[in-house]
């Protein structure tokens, strides 16, 4: 308990983070195309795998069964698109609002708190990521890649992935000097989306398999894949806990950073 008290910043007051989301809903009414277009990226990847790469790879073993490559990749794509959506919403867009549009300065001049700002932004990224996840799940179902109703549990799993990466992304953004640093985001996101048991199984790593655990996305992929196959195990609780803890710690740290940066 004392540790928790020490982590939570003294000024951690949550009043109405939903007002931040309200702002984005209004702002994006004019730019709905941008929101909609975000859905297409994972879709294109899935279709590309289905059209060509799947033929090259053939079948892959998932939970002891041989499945077409696209069925192996699809749940991972769902998780990594939740990550991508969350990261890009909480980095580039946040940097713009933080440093250039100075929207948070405006918000903090009102009774809104730094925690409201951080939670509102992360909440918005989650909401957006969740829309994509729902769409993607629909496409998977349309392509016959969903095995049972359990697959609906992939949605809360993506919510966790989004929460973790939106919080980390927001925190990282508070340290950025300018848009040139956005290059770093790509440099981190790319290996995560390739090496988290997404496009090839962990078995390919041999003795280094434990290293994959470092990637938060790996835990998300494990959850989404389990939801899709309906094969449950106790380790899923651990995967979920990892994501939750990462999310909360990053959220608290991000709030502290907003406080430091904008209320100096």
């Amino acid at each position: 308990m004392t540790i928790l008290l020490r982590i939570i910043p003294a000024g951690f007051v949550v009043r109405r983070p939903q007002r931040m989301i309200e702002r984005h809903v209004v702002a994006y009414r004019r730019q709905w195309l941008i929101i909609v277009s975000g859905f297409f990226e994972p879709l294109f990847i899935l279709l590309s795998v289905r059209a060509g790469l799947g033929d090259l790879v053939g079948e892959v073993s998932v939970a002891g069964r041989a499945v077409p490559y696209e069925a192996f990749v699809a749940p991972a794509l769902m998780a990594s698109s939740a990550m991508n959506g969350a990261v890009f919403d909480s980095t580039g867009n946040v940097l713009h609002r933080l440093k250039y549009a100075r929207i948070y300065d405006a918000a903090l001049a009102t009774p809104m708190s730094p925690a409201d700002v951080a939670m509102g932004e992360i909440g918005w990224a989650l909401l957006r990521g969740q829309m994509y996840a729902v769409g993607f799940l629909g496409v998977m179902a349309g392509l016959g890649l969903v095995e049972s109703w359990w697959a609906l549990l992939a949605l809360p799993a993506c919510l966790l992935v989004g929460f973790a990466f939106a919080s980390i992304g927001f925190l990282a953004t508070t340290y950025m000097r300018g848009f040139a640093d956005m290059d770093m985001v790509n440099t981190v996101v790319l290996p995560l989306s390739l090496f988290s048991a997404t496009v090839f199984p962990v078995s390919a790593y041999g003795d280094l398999a434990w290293l994959v655990q470092v990637s938060p996305l790996y835990h998300g992929v494990a959850l989404v894949r389990a939801a899709n196959t309906g094969v449950w195990s106790a380790s899923l609780v651990a995967h979920a806990l990892v994501l939750l803890v990462v999310s909360l710690v990053a959220l608290l740290a991000a709030t502290r950073r907003v406080d430091l940066l904008l209320r100096k």
Binding site: Q31, L33, I34, S37, G38, F40, E41, F44, I45, L47, S48, A51, G52, L53, D55, L56, V57, G58, V60, Y69, A180, D181, D183, M184, N186, T187, L190, P191, L194, F195, V199, F200, A204
Partner: protein
């Protein structure tokens, strides 16, 4: 003006280079890290899956998947870089930091600015693909002298995307169209354009679209040079493919010059 004066486009390039000097460190680092990550993830990781599948051998013409993907990586890198450099920075030059207006107040012409952009994009392409080539040289399957002409072929593709996009960006009202271009043109080409598997696997209609874009032509040329033990180079085909990409570059340049002249010197 003295006949010894630096040509206009090169003066524009030195302006680009001065701005780039503040960014190049991060930039070169990610130019090295990204291909390395792709090679390990797609080449080696997915490659193990592909090479294990006996059916894939025929589709790839007998080589390993790493060797097949490598030239694709080289050329898509240029496409992504050159198209990005021809959208936001061009809009910045006209609307945000207004560097082009600054140039327009000097003896530089619209042609100088557009050609300067072309030269600069080529330089950037060569740096980025050069970095990719260095990474490819680390792997035995992809190490060859053919990487050098492949880098040149990639630069052709870079221009073929840069110049039409520059023409588009000059008259674009807002930057809202840029992400759409990335999502609906660049990314699909990256995925379906022949970099990761032969376009012959695609449905016929998609295959024709992929072949119409300059990317595929560059990939084919680069692949001809880098495939280990490949067939002897058909120079006529190489010229044909590269000539096709030049159509895009030249058309883009002409439109860009006309539009920029209208914007800067109305």
């Amino acid at each position: 003006m003295s006949h010894l004066a630096t040509p206009g486009p090169l003066r524009v390039v030195s302006w680009h280079a001065a701005l780039y000097r503040r960014l190049w460190r991060v930039n070169v680092l990610s130019s090295l890290v990204q291909p390395l990550v792709y090679m390990l993830g797609l080449g080696v990781g997915v490659g193990t899956l592909v090479d294990r599948n006996t059916a894939s051998g025929d589709l790839l013409g007998g080589g390993s998947y790493v060797a097949f993907v490598a030239p694709g990586l080289l050329v898509t890198t240029t496409m992504v870089l050159a198209s990005g450099e021809s959208m936001w920075p061009v809009m910045a030059g006209l609307r945000w930091s207004r560097g082009y207006h600054g140039m327009a107040a000097t003896p530089l012409s619209a042609t100088d600015i557009v050609l300067g952009h072309a030269v600069w994009t080529t330089v950037r392409s060569l740096i980025a693909t050069g970095a990719v080539a260095c990474v490819l040289a680390l792997f035995t399957d992809t190490r060859s002298w053919g990487l050098i002409p492949a880098v040149v072929a990639a630069a052709f593709v870079g221009l073929a995307f840069a110049m039409p996009l520059m023409a588009y960006s000059i008259d674009a009202e807002m930057d809202g169209g840029f992400p759409a271009i990335q999502r609906f043109v660049i990314t699909p080409l990256f995925l379906f354009g022949g970099a990761f598997y032969p376009v012959t696997l695609l449905p016929a209609a998609v295959e024709w679209v992929a072949k119409a874009a300059p990317l595929w032509h560059g990939v084919v040329v680069a692949r001809a040079f880098t495939t280990p033990g490949g067939a002897p180079i058909d120079w006529l085909a190489v010229a044909g493919h590269l000539g096709y990409t030049l159509l895009f570059s030249v058309a883009g340049t002409l439109v860009a010059v006309r539009r920029l002249r209208r914007r800067l010197y109305p």
